[in-house]
Amino acid sequence: MHFVRCSVICAVAMQFAVLGTSCAGQVAPRLPGELVWTIGYDPKTFDPAKVDDIDAETVRYLTSGVLLRFDRLTQKVEPSLAQSWSVSPDGKTVMFKLRAGLRFSDGSSLTSRDAAWSIRRVLLPATGAPVADEFISPGNVTVESPDSSTVIVHLPQRVIGIDKVFDEIAIEPADRPSEGRITSGPFVVSEYRRSQFVRLRRNPHYYERDSSGVVLPYATGVRLDILNNTEQEARLFLRGEYDLIDHLPPDYFEMLSKQAGSMARDLGPSLNTEQMWFNQSPASPLPAWEREWFQDRAFRVAVSQAIRRDDLARIAYLGHATPAYSFISPSNSLWYNPNLSAPHTDVAAARSALSLAGFRWNGSKLADAAGHPIQFSILINAGNAARQKMATLIQQDLAALGMEVNVVALDFPALIERLMHTQDYEACLLGLENVDPEPNAMMNVWLSSSPNHQWDPSEKTPATPWEAEIDREMNRQATSLNDTVRKQAVARVQQIVADQQPFIYLVYPNTLVAISPRLQGVEPALLEPELVWNVERLRLQGSQ
């Protein structure tokens, strides 16, 4: 019987061990003048050319010197290592003029040879740099350095927004890739302890100075603790161990608002969207009648009309989200279509549309014309509280139409396996992070031939006339030189998506952050990295 007692007690203890993740965090000591915050996971690489994950991207942003910097606040491209640049009228030649006296962090000179080498390396297929795709045909791009301060890039065709692409290309010493140990950016990787932290120290040869002539960056270094636990992160922030939190879930934001007042800040709707969609792929193993529901516009519109987005924002996000009807957030004022006509909540209209489309009610349960009851599951990724709540709210909203919905939480790898490979799912609720306000960056979602065209990936030819029209309009905006034409094309795509509801947009989550009052110089922006985009100008109060 002792065994029984022990096993029950141990099981209860294990339960709390699973739940109780709020043990006191052990953090490395802070060096004088060092800024500290967290990244979720170990960066997969320190090679700036191979960055493909958000944590490695953070390290690249903090360490890399780039020819041009996309200002996250003004959303304009500014000169950085390049003193000036020009794009030829045909858009096929970009010429950079480097600043004089540039040096790498080890003191060696930075010349156009280094810049040309860095760009060529990114374009090489062997490097596997994700940014290479943005050149459209990277194999045909040539780079030359006619003198020590001039770099010329020849493109086979015009690329819209080509100057912004150079924000992602780190300039490294030619023939000496160092994985962030020798850089031309504000910081240098100095120490990495797996699963603990990445420490960056100031680059003593960084070129930039402030208006008073003081050499930047102000901070002596940055420590990025590797921590994927908001509970612990919030506690350590409150203890003053961390200087900022850049992505807060709404419940923790509320907690910090109560405990730390103005340190918690709601920056308004982000560029990101939360949406659900139905699997329309003919390659999916779903029964034909089920696919027919999902391919029926009336069905999708009725679902969209039944969802109470205000409740999703108010309950699932505690008011820190905005109801969404388009893939462009109102924060992206340049591209947002304010005249969009989208189906809003109207259960009566949804019921009559379903009725017209041949759906029937057996009692309170909805069935199709052949009598199949309308039952389907919505996949979400396990561990995302807001999505779990949204799915449960939608479950009840759709019950009002007589639809029976199962909410299924899967771990991320299992979810991706179903979405990208087996396509064995009915509906899915996920978010899309938009790091770029430019609609061109969303080509991979909207082109029907794309594997990321989630509702029907990799179509050989557009399956419907409206998908063909989206293809045409997206290509029009990608190739036109006229801003008005581009805006018209993007507005048209927004209207088609609102009419057809291949993605049922739910909310734009607000950007929620916490900033220590000791941290000076923060100018929050909506684009990544929201709080540290001007890291060279951040410093702790009282530090030199």
């Binding site: 019987m1 029984v4 007692r5 096993s7 029950v8 099981a11 209860v12 294990m14 339960q15 699973v18 739940l19 109780g20 993740t21 709020s22 509970e231 919030a234 506690r235 879930p249 419940d251 923790y252 509320e254 907690m255 109560k258 109470r308 409740d311 108010r314 309950i315 039952q375 389907f376 599951s377 996949l379 396990a382 561990g383 509280a385 779990q388 709540k389 799915a391 449960t392 709210l393 479950q395 009840q396 029976e404 199962n406 909410v407 299924v408 939480a409 899967l410 771990d411 299992a414 064995d424 799912y425 009915e426």
Partner: protein, 262 residues
């Protein structure tokens, strides 16, 4: 003894009150009162509401009923299976016995939690929450019998070789009739095995729920409700989030008390 009886009556009373709370007119564990998320205790919601405005008392009561009913059914199944396998091993001879015991040992060595997770995640996506709850407890029953079967095997062997059994055999009791006399004498062994399994299955289901693989929404489960404790932001909203864990501990303590006497 008095505490034992009190524990039995308390547990029965708790289950009865929970059942009454679930079946009360107007009670619903899934209805969302969207105007009252995280509401404090009130006459309409005696334990307040959860993040979606659902009545916390009804949900906790439903979780208790579901968990106790499921765990009891699974424990009954597992005890019956163990009795069958254990007795078969004891009555088998040579290779048969060896094979049955080997089968038990292999089952004992399986990483049951991962197996459980694999089977649960392999269920069709359209499996309804009620059916997935039933499947969860069935799997628990299917995985829980080997340790119990080992105990039954030893018990049956002891009974087979007991003096009264030898005397009965000598007096002419046929081998096929032996089992009829063994089974009633096994009850003092099977009852504790059954009682041991119930809290173990309650905990197993709660663990699965805490891993996000438990009973699906909108059915309430202890594991799902305990997940709220992982979030200190939630704890600040309302102290009623402790309600399910207090009830779970109470149920486990009562079961402990019953077990000690059994």
């Amino acid at each position: 003894m008095r505490f034992h009886r009190l524990a039995v009556w308390l547990l029965i009373g708790l289950a009865g009150v929970s059942l009454a709370a679930v079946l009360a007119p107007g009670a619903s564990y899934s209805r969302q009162d969207r105007e009252q998320p995280f509401a404090a205790a009130s006459p309409s919601h005696p334990a307040g509401t959860d993040a979606l405005g659902r009545d916390r008392l009804v949900r906790t009561a439903a979780a208790l009923v579901l968990s106790l009913a499921g765990a009891s059914a699974a424990a009954a199944l597992t005890t019956a299976a163990a009795a069958g396998v254990g007795a078969s091993a004891a009555f088998a001879t040579g290779a048969g016995r060896w094979l049955i015991l080997l089968f038990c040992d292999i089952f004992l060595a399986l990483p049951w939690l991962f197996l459980l997770m694999m089977v649960r995640s392999a269920l069709p996506l359209t499996t309804s929450p009620a059916r997935s709850a039933a499947v969860t407890f069935l799997i628990l029953a299917a995985l829980g019998w080997p340790a119990c079967a080992r105990a039954v095997y030893s018990g049956v062997l002891e009974l087979k070789n007991a003096d009264w059994m030898l005397q009965a055999r000598a007096a002419g009791l046929r081998r096929s009739q032996t089992l009829l006399h063994v089974v009633p004498n096994l009850l003092p062994l099977l009852l504790p095995q059954f009682l041991v399994s119930v809290p173990a299955f309650v905990i197993a289901e709660a663990n699965l729920g805490a891993l996000g693989l438990g009973i699906g929404e909108p059915l309430p489960s202890w594991g799902g409700m305990l997940l709220e404790l992982d979030n200190s932001a939630m704890l600040l909203q309302t102290r009623w989030v402790y309600f399910p864990v207090v009830l779970l501990i109470l149920v486990l303590v009562l079961m402990e008390a019953i077990l000690v006497e059994a």
